[in-house]
């Protein structure tokens, strides 16, 4: 043990949320519950910041490992962290802190304290533990366990409100998640049969272009695409994300789908990089393009605010999938580096912040309005100016207008597609931006129209007071989205230190 190393903190990143979950469950319905959880959120945030700073200060920029149990791979399980995973951990830490703060006041009105203390907080922390465990995992089977933690806790959180729509969305989400995990598990079984190890690096070292590896890659791709909800496998996403409580919707759209995407990127580029081809990547790209167009169109037609945002997630995930065709495919393997990967990473971060901000502000608007009908939002800008502003900023980032994180992400995508000579993706990206503007300005236009709609019997639910904390959290996320637009190189340097960030 020479000095402080970032890898020493990896177990703590997983165990802190686990402990938080146990304590939240034991404390149950106590008035201290909110404060305890805020304390843990802060601790977790500081821990993540410390780990990130240490990782960045280590000059090597190589992935660092933590050996659990003193056995070492392949017998034991190793935790591994590299630039991409440290970025995802940092993103998780930040969003956990902000959304936890939002959650402390969100449930206060419409939710019994029993449900909140005994179900929401423990499940919330288990979900965070699963996400962190996934991002630091270096073992194929361990990733399966982490995927199940994420899938089950996310489905349980969607169901937490107990309405019929929420239960059905949760059940569909759960079944799809289980199906996806089983595909992944079969792929792991096949990989273990061929390579005799579960460690990702060792699989990568002995992987070749043989049929078993190809089949494993196909199975992993099918399973994870189901979980990521790439068009046409997106059918479960809008209902699940729209029927969940607002903080859960935010984390589902911002991080949970990205967790499966993270695993897919790892396998596609690093571990089984030998098996993936340019042709296969074009298929993923085409599905991504279709997702952009279909998602935007469905968002435009949505009548519920949260459904609109959920369809927007379907569309935005499509952009990230353009990463696959735009990456370089050399003979004998591809790698997750270069401008396409930078664009994708930037897109992941930008979308996570913007979408979380948008869901939180939408949740505030819905609370203030009493229901989620888009048509009822007319004139809400006068009553909730700050939340409408947050919604607008997040929308600007999603459309890709400057100055925002989304603009830089799209710019990187466009330049990469021109550089690689695949001009057809340029059309898709620009068309997607236009569609995005269509559905977001539809909402904003209504919000700024003066006068309120005649709320006859449609508005049965009482309007609730939106607390200052909830607005503030949404505002902070919106400011982060804007700030990322000015500080592009920071993110790019973390995630891809070897390739110098292209001047933006």
């Amino acid at each position: 043990m020479n000095g402080l190393s970032s890898s020493l903190f990896l177990p703590a990143i997983v165990f802190l949320p686990l402990i938080a979950s146990i304590i939240a469950f034991l404390v149950g319905r106590n008035r201290l519950q909110g404060r305890i959880n805020m304390l843990f959120a802060l601790l977790q945030f500081l821990l993540v910041i410390l780990t990130t700073v240490l990782f960045l200060s280590e000059q090597s920029y190589q992935s660092s490992r933590y050996v659990i149990g003193g056995w070492g791979a392949p017998l034991g399980i190793d935790l591994v962290v590299d630039g991409f995973s440290i970025l995802m951990i940092a993103l998780t830490g930040l969003l956990t802190l902000l959304i936890s703060a939002y959650s402390t006041s969100y449930f206060s009105e419409q939710f019994s304290s029993e449900q909140k203390g005994l179900r929401f907080w423990p499940l919330w922390w288990l979900l965070i533990a699963g996400l962190n465990a996934l991002f630091v995992s270096g073992d194929a089977f361990n990733i399966y366990v982490c995927l199940e933690i994420i899938g089950l806790s996310a489905a349980a959180l969607v169901a937490i409100q107990g309405t019929r729509a929420a239960l059905e969305a949760a059940l569909r989400y759960l079944l799809v998640g289980l199906l996806g995990s089983l595909f992944y598990l079969l792929a792991i079984a096949i990989l273990y049969r061929t390579h005799g190890t579960l460690d990702l690096m060792q699989i990568a070292a002995s992987a070749d272009n043989g049929l078993p590896d190809k089949v494993a890659m196909i199975l992993i791709a099918i399973g994870l695409l189901l979980k990521i909800a790439l068009f046409p496998l997106h059918f479960w996403l809008p209902q699940a994300h729209a029927n969940a409580p607002t903080p859960v919707s935010a984390i589902l759209s911002a991080l949970v789908v990205k967790a499966s995407l993270y695993v897919l990127i790892k396998f596609w580029f690093d571990i089984l990089g030998e098996t993936t081809t340019f042709g296969a990547s074009q298929v993923l790209g085409a599905l991504g393009g279709a997702a952009i167009l279909y998602g935007s169109w469905s968002a435009f037609r949505a009548t519920q605010l949260k459904v609109l945002i959920a369809y927007s997630t379907v569309a935005q995930l499509g952009y990230i999938f353009l990463l696959f065709p735009l990456s370089k495919y050399a003979v004998g393997g591809s790698s997750f580096s270069g401008s396409a990967s930078q664009a994708a990473i930037y897109f992941i971060v930008a979308h996570a912040c913007a979408k979380a901000a948008m869901f939180l502000s939408a949740g505030n608007l819905i609370l203030s309005q009493g229901n989620g009908e888009i048509a009822q939002l007319k004139g809400i800008a006068t009553r909730e100016p700050l939340n409408v502003l947050v919604f607008a900023i997040a929308g600007i980032s999603l459309i890709g207008l400057p100055p925002s994180a989304g603009f830089i992400a799209k710019w990187l995508l466009l330049t990469t597609s021109i550089e690689s000579g695949q001009w057809w993706w340029v059309i898709v990206v620009i068309a997607g931006g236009l569609f995005g503007a269509m559905y977001l300005f539809k909402v904003l236009g209504l919000a700024f129209t003066s006068g309120t709609v005649d709320t006859g019997q449609g508005n049965k639910q009482p309007r609730e007071h939106v607390s200052g904390v909830m607005t503030a959290v949404a505002m902070i996320l919106a400011i982060i989205t804007l700030a990322l637009g000015f500080n592009a190189e920071f993110i790019l340097n973390i995630s891809n230190p070897i390739v110098e960030a292209s001047s933006v």
């Binding site: 089977f141 107990g162 019929r164 598990l185």
Partner: protein, 109 residues
């Protein structure tokens, strides 16, 4: 062909049977059972590949199966619970409409 290979093919067969069940089954219960059949197929595959010779077996796939079983139990329990809750909501709803229609004059909602 060794007997392990036969078991592995049978495991893959079970996986496929389960998969088609998930895709075409109507009732949620059938889908949940089909998911379990898929899982059992994978477990069978893993146990068959663990056997390396007459007396030598690799314990790691066995451990994977044990972990997998617990996870399958957990997933199944959650799915069944959600299914039953949806069913109850529907039943209550049905009961209410039945009572309302039994009354001579209907009350507008």
């Amino acid at each position: 062909m060794t007997s392990e290979l036969l078991y592995m093919i049978a495991g893959l067969g079970l996986f496929s049977i389960g998969l088609s069940g998930v895709l075409i089954a109507g009732h949620v219960m059938r889908k949940i059972l089909a998911l379990n059949v898929m899982g059992v197929g994978i477990f069978m595959f893993l146990i068959a590949l663990a056997r390396k010779s007459e007396s030598v077996f690799d314990p790691v796939p066995h451990a994977m199966v044990l972990t997998g079983i617990v996870i399958a139990v957990a997933g199944t329990a959650l799915a069944l619970n959600l299914m039953v809750r949806i069913h109850n909501i529907d039943e209550t709803e049905l009961e209410r409409t039945r009572q309302e229609s039994a009354k001579p004059e209907k009350i507008e909602l």
